[in-house]
């Protein structure tokens, strides 16, 4: 597995797309901090960029890379090597490359311009999103034989998580506002990894507003150590479940 990891990482390190991703994030982040007159505004704009762009890029890139390396995967699969070692190495390398690109593209500008707790949480949440959506991308690529359809499914999933889910949830919230919906809102929002990552950042930047409610429910739920652990666990599940399925699919997949 380490060997596959090593060589896939070498391949990825020279991949134009990964470099492009690092540069794009760097450009966006640097640009926001340089152009926006205000560092707080830059950080908050970056939050929105990260929450939308990072999942999209992780998802689409992973899907495309998995398709593009299919022949090489085939070459690896006829070697005396377990399927699980091949996929494991590839996924680890993908995760490492994307996280590395993100460290440069996002972590570095944040470090330079805004070394706050909020920025650190943004970095962490962004990294979690990379892992979640790379895992989903891998599963899509393995389940779907056709590249075009795979990319289509990836885009649909991204759209669902980034926009549709929230729209539906909010619609439901206002439609059912006569009912005691409170206990469901937080868990339902917490299921969506993008929402969850956003809430973790929000607890830093919108904390003051959230303390405004006597119930202070979000603060109590997510802000506590227990809540943070629960959030981390949910995100970990979002990584683990697709990865497990990917391994199951790949073990018996016809290449």
């Amino acid at each position: 597995m380490l060997k596959v990891f090593k060589y896939t990482l070498i391949d990825l390190a020279r991949n134009r797309f990964v470099l492009g991703y690092a540069l794009l994030m760097l450009l966006v982040a640097q640009g926001l901090f340089a152009l926006e007159g205000d560092p707080t505004k830059a950080l908050l704009s970056l939050v929105q960029v990260v929450m939308a762009l990072v999942p999209l890029i992780a998802l689409v890139f992973t899907v495309v890379y998995m398709y593009d390396t299919l022949e090489f995967t085939q070459l690896l699969a006829v070697q005396p090597m377990r399927r699980s070692a091949i996929l494991g190495g590839q996924l680890l390398a993908l995760a490492a490359a994307l996280l590395l690109a993100q460290a440069i593209g996002l972590g570095l500008p944040l470090l330079v311009h805004s070394p706050t707790v909020a920025a650190l949480v943004l970095s962490l949440s962004g990294s979690a999103l990379v892992l979640v959506f790379a895992a989903l991308g891998a599963l899509i690529a393995l389940k779907q034989r056709e590249k075009a359809r795979g990319v289509g499914v990836a885009l649909a999933i991204w759209f669902l998580f980034v926009l549709v889910y929230d729209a539906l949830l909010m619609w439901g919230m206002f439609t059912l506002s006569d009912h005691p919906i409170e206990p469901f809102v937080v868990p339902l929002a917490g299921i969506n990894p993008i929402d969850l990552a956003r809430i973790m950042v929000m607890l830093q930047v919108d904390l003051a507003a959230m303390m405004g409610y006597s119930g202070a429910i979000y603060k109590n739920f997510f802000g506590s150590v227990g809540g943070t652990i629960v959030a981390a666990l949910i995100l970990a599940l979002w990584v683990a479940v697709p990865v497990l399925f990917a391994f199951r699919v790949f073990r018996r997949k016809d290449l």
Binding site: A22, F33, K41, A96, P109, V112, V117, D166, V201, A208
Partner: protein
């Protein structure tokens, strides 16, 4: 009696025309009160050691100077130090042990019905009221450190408390863990400058029925409910910092029934509500900075003729909220970080008005749980749509000349420096963990090959851009 006389003569060191200096060391026989009773107006008493003989009363103009280890310990009886004469100076003491009583306002230092008192450089240690001025003119309270202890409201009183005073100066004091840090009631023509008021149970500073006062360059942080100015006229509030006042009824600054006030150059950061304006007339709000507050501004519909100019609104969850639709106030030339307009004529002002009352603000008013969607893509799309075609937000609330860039302020981002809790190392450690596997994977041979690994090349590090000034 003869011994006492000898002692007094021994204490007598310097003689001026009509003013003597007495040197008193506790434990040397006589009590401090006896010494004071033997002084004449204008004398100086230099005190050393711990005086614990109950309440000390100063009833003539005196200078009380605390020596190196001077402590006045009231021993839990009444006020530790009671001043009832004009022109008394108390300087350099540690004062403690006032009785804790709500019935008769027991204090560390109580000053009653006089003028020209100076209370300077004292340390008030866990007193009930710490410094209590009642009916005092021309008082100066300066450089004191006033520390209470955390507790319940019933057992706590105010740090610096003024009642029916005028022309007082409260300067460079530090007050922590009292009920209200500084309390003014019926106090006129006074100045509060350069004080730090932290962790107080209720308000960092509290005005009631006080007029023509100014407070400037103070620092208020983490007080239960912030700063409250109520039922007062002509209060000037300049260059203060209102930080981290969080809670359901916490405000950076709460204004209730205030006329003709001005709020200029202050910083409001991390407060649940930056400023709450309720029933006020003619308030001039200029050049303030509202940063990372829950609601930067809550403007009740009963506020009239308030004028907002040159303020910076950045990173607030909600910039403005209100409870009415007719807003008889003006907003002009503020910086709003949510402004999405353009400036074609390059005059520094956006060409289309900004409506600071967002759609999402209204949604959250209707359904607090919608808060969970803050800063989501969906909400920002909704907000943008609403700003283009206003349907629910009041038409009259708008800034016709929003600034394109935040106005430059000298003490800008002071508060941000306090937020710098995480050192760079936390970032570096977190992100460098990604470099380790990469380094593992790329051994020397591969790295030096024709197409070297550009990812780890340092040339793509900072591309320029502005470094933020945290000064």
């Amino acid at each position: 009696m003869r011994e006492l006389l000898i002692l007094l003569l021994a204490c007598l060191s310097v003689t001026h025309v009509g003013a003597r200096t007495w040197r008193y060391r506790s434990g040397a026989g006589a009590s401090l009160q006896t010494v004071i009773n033997g002084t004449a107006a204008g004398d100086t008493v230099l005190v050393e050691g711990t005086v614990s003989e109950g309440s000390i009363r100063v009833d003539r103009p005196l200078v009380l100077l605390g020596g190196a280890d001077a402590v006045i310990d009231g021993g839990g009886e009444d006020d530790a130090l009671l001043i009832t004469a004009d022109h008394v100076t108390v300087k350099g003491f540690t004062i403690r042990g006032s009785r804790r009583s709500n019935l008769d306002d027991m204090s560390g230092i109580k000053v009653n019905e006089c003028r020209g008192v100076v209370i300077e450089d004292n340390f008030l240690d866990k007193c009930f009221f710490a410094i209590y001025l009642s009916g005092v003119k021309d008082a100066r309270v300066q450089g004191n450190t006033v520390l209470g202890e955390p507790g319940e409201e019933d057992h706590m009183a105010n740090g610096i408390h003024l009642w029916k005073c005028s022309k007082a100066t409260i300067r460079n004091n530090r007050i922590e863990h009292h009920r209200d840090g500084i309390y003014f009631e019926f106090v006129t023509d006074s100045h509060i400058t350069g004080n730090t008021s932290l962790h107080n149970l209720r308000y960092g500073l509290h005005f009631m029925f006080s007029h023509r006062d100014a407070y400037e360059d103070n620092h208020f942080e983490d007080n239960g409910a912030g700063v409250a100015v109520m039922f007062s006229k002509e209060i000037a509030m300049r260059r203060n910092r209102f930080l981290a006042n969080r809670g359901a009824s916490a405000y950076g600054l709460l204004l209730k029934e205030i006329n003709d006030g001005e709020i200029i150059g202050n910083t409001f950061q991390d407060n649940t509500t930056g400023i709450m304006i309720d029933g006020c007339n003619r308030i001039n709000v200029r050049d303030n900075e509202f940063r990372l507050n829950g609601w930067a501004l809550r403007l009740f519909a009963n506020a009239i003729d308030c004028d907002f100019r040159g303020n910076t609104f950045a990173g607030n969850t909600f910039d403005v909220s209100t409870n009415g639709s007719l807003i008889p106030n003006t907003m002009n030339g503020n910086y709003w970080d949510r402004y999405a307009g353009y400036d074609l004529d390059r005059d520094g002002h956006g060409d289309v008005p900004h409506r600071p009352l967002g759609f999402f603000t209204l949604l959250v008013e209707m359904q607090p749980y919608a808060m969970v969607f803050s800063r989501s893509l969906f909400v920002s799309l909704l907000d943008r749509a609403e700003r283009l075609i206003p349907s629910l937000t009041p038409e009259s609330m708008k800034d016709d000349r929003p600034l394109m860039r935040p106005p430059v302020r000298k003490n800008r981002a002071v508060a941000v420096a306090n937020k710098r809790l995480f050192p760079h190392s936390a970032f570096v450690i977190f992100h460098s963990s990604f470099f380790i596997p990469a380094g593992m994977g790329l051994n020397e041979k591969w790295r030096t090959s024709e197409h070297s690994v550009v990812l780890v090349h340092p040339c793509i590090f900072p591309l320029g851009g502005r470094y933020q000034d945290h000064g």
